[in-house]
């Protein structure tokens, strides 16, 4: 890491109001999708955001790019206060921060050719001549492993993996510094996932990109991320180096997530099991939001909201009992679940096979 800060987020909050009433709607509450999140991202770094569905991770990604307006908090991108910008300046800033979307079947305008999809952002931000724009489109296509002759086709003529490559090319087209990847591979076949993930890893090196990588697949996250932030009901419960977080998780929720990875062998007991369902973010539990599902919860957890504490290895954990709960047993081998390890091997093999690919 170069150590230069690219993104600084402070107590970012988004509450979606919930209204009832046909004629005179009144607010009956709000969904706290993102509730006071602070994080930083260094240049060239990849921060993965993981959590169950509905925990607010996609909302967080959109808030960072100001695709939706936050309720409060601040986002500084390379020192610029993103939330205070007027519309025009914000549109210009979008050149430097882009997004890759989850669903490659919904994220491409169905009636534009790939050439139009890719030249729109180039024309908007880079001001190249038509000839240079065309050259750049061809260049982008070959960077993501497609060919120039693909440019005149329409999105429906491509497979899911190819479409996601087009989405990646679009995100790259403006030479951005930050890309928010919103579950970029979860809609793809497992066989295609590895290729797209490795493409993202290569592009990061090639163009010096920084990623906010939203995901729920821990194997993918371990492969691509430098740091991991674990989100639960709109809050970050644990954030730190990926090896530290996955090898010795301190927050009970992180442990539950790691235990939830499906296992091939029968009969092995799970280490931490989160009981019940995710509570409604409309009415989050008091104190620690995880306490109704936490096997270690005690009276204090119900009453007091835990503050994040920084550990000696630099990671931050928001749990009252982080020093009291039993140590995470080092699983057989390198402390990674065998299933996860196998997935990691697939990713690594695909990465080695890469030179043969375009």
């Amino acid at each position: 890491m170069t150590g230069k800060q690219l993104l600084a987020v402070d107590t970012l909050t988004k509450h979606f109001p919930v209204r009832r009433g046909l004629i005179f709607p009144r607010e009956i509450g709000s969904v706290r999708a993102v509730d006071g999140i602070s994080l930083t991202l260094q240049k060239g770094e990849t921060l993965a955001v993981v959590g169950e569905s509905g925990c607010g991770k996609s909302t967080l990604g959109r808030l960072l790019l100001r695709l939706i307006e936050p309720t409060s908090g601040s986002v500084r991108f390379d020192g610029i206060d993103v939330l205070s910008l007027d519309r025009e300046t914000l549109r210009k800033l979008r050149r430097r921060m882009q997004m890759i979307f989850q669903d490659p079947f919904a994220s491409l305008h169905p009636r534009l050719s790939v050439r139009r999809i890719l030249s729109e952002p180039i024309e908007l931000h880079l001001g190249l001549s038509p000839k240079d724009t065309e050259r750049r489109v061809n260049e982008l296509l070959s960077v993501v492993g497609l060919a120039p002759y693909h440019a005149d086709r329409y999105p429906h003529e491509f497979s899911g993996g190819q479409r996601q490559r087009i989405g990646i090319a679009r995100a790259l087209s403006t030479r951005p510094e930050l890309i928010v990847c919103d579950e970029p591979v979860s809609a793809l076949d497992v066989s295609i996932q590895a290729h797209v993930i490795n493409l993202l890893v290569d592009l990061r090196q090639q163009f010096g990109l920084s990623y906010i990588f939203i995901a729920h697949d821990l194997a993918v996250v371990r492969h691509i991320a430098d740091r991991i932030a674990v989100m639960y009901l709109g809050e970050i419960v644990e954030i730190g180096d990926k090896y530290a977080v996955t090898a010795s998780p301190r927050h009970p929720y992180t442990r539950a997530l790691l235990s939830a990875v499906p296992r091939a062998e029968a009969g092995r007991e799970r280490r931490t099991i989160a009981q019940g369902d995710v509570p409604s973010p409309l009415n989050p539990p008091s104190g620690c939001r995880f306490h109704p599902r936490c096997p270690y919860a005690e009276a204090r957890c119900r009453a007091e909201t835990p503050q994040a504490r920084t550990l000696e290895d630099g990671r931050q954990v928001a749990c009252h009992r982080q020093d009291e709960i039993p140590p995470w047993p080092a699983a057989g081998g390198a402390g990674i679940d065998p299933v996860v390890r196998r997935r990691l091997q697939v990713l690594a093999t695909a990465a080695k096979a890469k030179p043969a690919a375009a």
Partner: protein, 295 residues
Amino acid sequence: MTSTDIESSTPLPRPVGLLRRLASDSTVLIAGGILVTIVAASLLAPFIAPYDPYETGYAPFIPPAFMEGGTSEFLLGTDQQGRDLLSRLLYGTQATLLTGLLGVFFGGGAGVVLGILAAYFKKFDPPIMRFVDVLLSFPAILFGLAIAAVIGPGIVPIIIALSIATVPDVARVTRSTAVVVMSQEYMEAGRAIGLSDRHLIIRYLGLNCIGSVFVFLTLRFGQVILIGAALSFLGLGARPPMAELGMMAAQGRDALFFAPHISTIPSLAIFMIVLCANMLGDALRDALDPRMRNM
């Protein structure tokens, strides 16, 4: 084996073009053929009409040539004032098609704009849609009456009334289509690129709504013609000497029992136009259905 090889090894079937799909539908060919003939005949009225539609000097109540007592001089006979019915029919179709078309054009245009704005700017959604609801609660006939009362009967108040009657339905259909399009990720992707609202509304939202809205407008065209004919029938539309199908049907009403052709022929013309427009609209809707793409 490269990554691209893996993915392109399953080529997607190329969808059949919209026009080809339409052309393979016999309904489209028949309905389209009839409609094209009617439109062409009405446009060519000044050249193919055998007589002046306003000239009254001929014998009245001559039945059509194919009926007893008819003469080949007047193919569709004459009306009670001795005007050639075929000539009046050609000119009348012209007027009827024009009012319907302009009604759909102005009303549909305004409706599309309102619907798209309501879907794109969520802030404007409630006021726009409440306004549309107000319009929706007025029957078109009532509008026609009111407008004719203010500026007098004629073709212009009819077009205004038809336009206003078209706005709310089109706005509702457009909005519901546009709301679905708005929730697609490519709209957000467009915003993430930094495209302007104008570009997003026209090239992203508009382009993806226009297909289904166009189908609705085609279906609506038939209804508008019917309402227009009804308004003319009630005497709110075209003024007497002018030829207009609805008004011609109304004028033949008194002679319905001894000279039924005066009223039935323009009515049949209205019927054919509306039927063909509806059939075309239905076929277009089926052809645009994405599930039909690869058939």
